[in-house]
């Protein structure tokens, strides 16, 4: 390697390393803050805690984090299930139909992607409320699913366009009806895209805040973000407990991300097509 190439390489390494460090610092601050007392957190923000105290975790846990965790898992799993089923079915029909009306159906579904949640929050709330679905973990999974469907439908749509049609035709010749083709041939072979969609939507729904704040008002049905937000009271905030709660909510996602990294990457690759 020439000197110039070497110095360029070092420069590139430095740039990436700096950004990586920049990314890590807040996460580091979050984690170490969770082990400090309020006073230590404010007086020695960047230092390691003098002693690792789990008191903040206990306080965070004390407001019912375990329950929030379960609720978040439930709501996320349910909504992701809805999203995958509804989006894959719809995207399949859209990708395989040549009816002009389907073009409009596609536009209608994808248009949902452009609707910002906060612009429809009130009508949405009134709708859910009128239907008597407030404070139901099932109920919140429905709007979550609705907001995940446009994106996921697009994802599936591109996947299905590239899905080898001969397989479906072979199955039709083998005696499968439309639904059978879908469930016996297409879906079993859509593993990667299902994984991608599921992971993406799981991240969104796990972190969703506003709808959960409005619709899950009972303590025992609240999800993690709302529950943690509850650590800031009317006139006071317990920052170490807040950070501990954030850590508890964040670490599972990071672990899932580390485990399922290649699915993320693959779905991003799919997006770019």
């Amino acid at each position: 390697m020439t000197l110039r190439a070497r110095s360029v390489a070092i420069g590139l390494h430095a740039f990436v390393s700096l950004w990586t460090l920049f990314v890590l610092v807040p996460v580091f601050v979050m984690v170490i803050s969770a082990f400090k007392s309020q006073a230590e957190l404010f007086t020695r923000p960047l230092a390691l805690p003098r002693q690792f105290s789990f008191a903040a975790f206990e306080r965070a846990w004390g407001i019912g984090i375990s329950g929030f965790l379960v609720n978040s898992l439930l709501v996320t799993a349910l909504s992701v299930l809805f999203i995958v089923i509804a989006s894959s079915l719809a995207a399949y029909v859209l990708a395989r139909s040549d009816k002009p009306v389907m073009r409009w159906v596609y536009v209608a579904i994808v248009a949902g992607f452009a609707v910002p949640l906060q612009s429809v929050m009130v009508p949405l709330y009134q709708l859910v409320s009128s239907a008597g679905l407030l404070n139901s973990r099932l109920a919140i999974a429905l709007p979550y699913a609705a907001y995940g469907i446009p994106f996921t439908t697009m994802l599936f749509y591109t996947f299905f366009l590239e899905f080898p049609r001969e397989l479906e035709e072979a199955a039709r010749l083998d005696g499968c009806g439309r639904i059978e083709v879908f469930f016996r041939i297409v879906l079993p072979l859509s593993g990667p895209v299902i994984a991608s969609a599921a992971i993406f939507q799981a991240v969104f729904n796990w972190n969703e805040f506003i709808l959960a704040l409005l619709m899950l008002t009972k303590t025992d049905v609240r999800t993690l973000p709302v529950g943690i937000y509850g650590l800031t009271g009317q006139y006071s905030a317990d920052w170490p407990a807040l950070m501990a709660g954030l850590a508890i909510a964040t670490v599972p996602l990071i672990v899932i991300f580390l485990l399922a990294q290649r699915h993320f990457v693959r779905s991003l690759a799919g997006l770019g097509k």
Binding site: P164, E166, E169, A170, L173, D174, G175, E180, L189
Partner: protein, 381 residues
């Protein structure tokens, strides 16, 4: 009534007509090959027969049953796809037995059918494998095996060998022919490769632009092409085409001119053949293998420009300067000449192109032959 009958099938995609009233029939046990350039509608026709495409007009019947509206699986057809279309999530055995499983046939019956098909295709040892563990040739066998287990009235092949390499392809050709003999089944086979068509077919259907140009046995098509298109498409290397016009007709003998400075060519027409009128523009065709150093007619003097030694044969292209071939696909208007031996012709060497009169075929300006030919719609006219 024929085993497979296709009548006046019309297929459109929006404004575009891909099949404009196609009719043909195949007898039971016949191996029919549909051939034509890409986009000619041969695959669409095959898929229409399979029920994978809806047709706008016309009808399809198999074994005397009108199946125009039937579901693909109810038509008594099985199809082998170009890229095999094996289900990646099923083993070879499951792939082959899937149709029977969907039809809820008993396990024993499925097993028996799969075992038998596997034996015929000699893939028994692969039955437990998944498709991704197989070679291209093996995959194609499995795809065929999947068709066999269904015991269809008609086998449909959609360019099944085009993904295989040359050696494997010729091997599979022979194998398919053997299979056809053993099963005695009606087979409809689509390809763009005329060698496959010539070697395997009982009859060939040549398609072009959504129409059937000619139907006939391989040698009929070679010897008596109905149109200039068929003449050009069947036979390799391609036939040489030369533009000419009629300058004189005396009885059944017609003189053609290629231009002022070139000697005219006089051909005899058989009784019953259409005679062109004086002044008509025509296309004369002469196959490369019919051109030689000697013959009844001296066509032109030329200069050798390309020599391709093929081993036993030699393909020579030569430039006749004043006389050029008209086919846009041929090399710079050079004449192709297939010499049935190893040739010592050198580049730049001067040669004379000779041929027998009977080797010429004459096409009217619209491309139809003026000679007797097997008609395109022989069964219905």
């Amino acid at each position: 009534m024929s085993h497979l009958e296709v009548r006046d099938v019309v297929k459109r995609y929006g404004q575009l007509t891909v099949l404009s009233g196609v009719s043909f029939a195949a007898e039971k046990g016949e191996f029919v090959v549909m051939v034509g350039p890409s986009g000619c509608g041969k695959s669409t026709l095959l898929r229409s027969i399979a029920g994978l495409e809806e047709i706008a007009e016309g009808s399809v019947s198999i074994a005397g049953r009108n199946i125009t509206q039937a579901e693909p699986s109810d038509r008594g057809v099985a199809m082998v796809f170009q890229n095999y279309a094996l289900y990646p999530h099923m083993t070879v055995a499951q792939n082959m037995g899937f149709a029977l499983k969907v039809a809820r046939r008993p396990k024993s019956e499925i097993n028996a059918a799969v075992t038998r098909a596997a034996e015929i295709l000699r893939i028994t040892e692969h039955l437990a494998k998944y498709p991704k563990a197989l070679s291209g040739g093996q995959k194609q066998r499995v795809a065929i095996g999947r068709a066999i287990t269904r015991a269809p009235e008609v086998f449909l092949f959609d360019e099944p060998l085009s993904n295989l390499d040359a050696a494997l392809r010729s091997q599979m050709r022979i194998e398919l022919s053997r299979l056809h003999r053993e099963l005695g089944a009606t087979m409809l086979y689509v390809t763009h490769d005329q060698t496959e068509a010539m070697t395997m077919a009982d009859r060939i259907i040549v398609m072009n632009g959504g129409n059937i140009e000619q139907i006939g046995s391989p040698l009929e098509l070679y010897n008596r092409p109905a149109t200039r298109f068929v003449a050009g498409f069947i036979g390799s290397p391609r036939m040489n085409f030369i533009s000419a016009y009629v300058i004189e007709t005396v009885g059944r003998s017609v003189s053609f001119s290629f231009g002022l400075e070139l000697p005219p060519l006089k051909l005899e027409f058989a009784p019953g053949e259409t005679l062109p009128a004086v002044g008509d523009a025509v296309i004369l065709g002469i196959r490369p293998e019919a051109l030689g150093d000697s013959g009844e007619v001296h066509l032109a003097d030329a200069e050798v420009t390309v020599v391709e030694a093929l081993g036993r044969e030699t393909l020579v292209y030569s430039d006749a300067h004043a006389l050029r071939t008209t086919d846009s696909e041929s090399l710079d208007g050079y004449f192709a000449q297939l010499v049935p031996s190893q040739s010592d012709k050198k580049l730049g060497q001067h040669v004379s192109l000779w041929a027998d009169r009977s080797a010429f075929v004459v096409f009217a300006a619209d491309g139809t032959t003026l000679h007797d030919a097997s008609p395109a719609h022989a069964h219905y006219k």
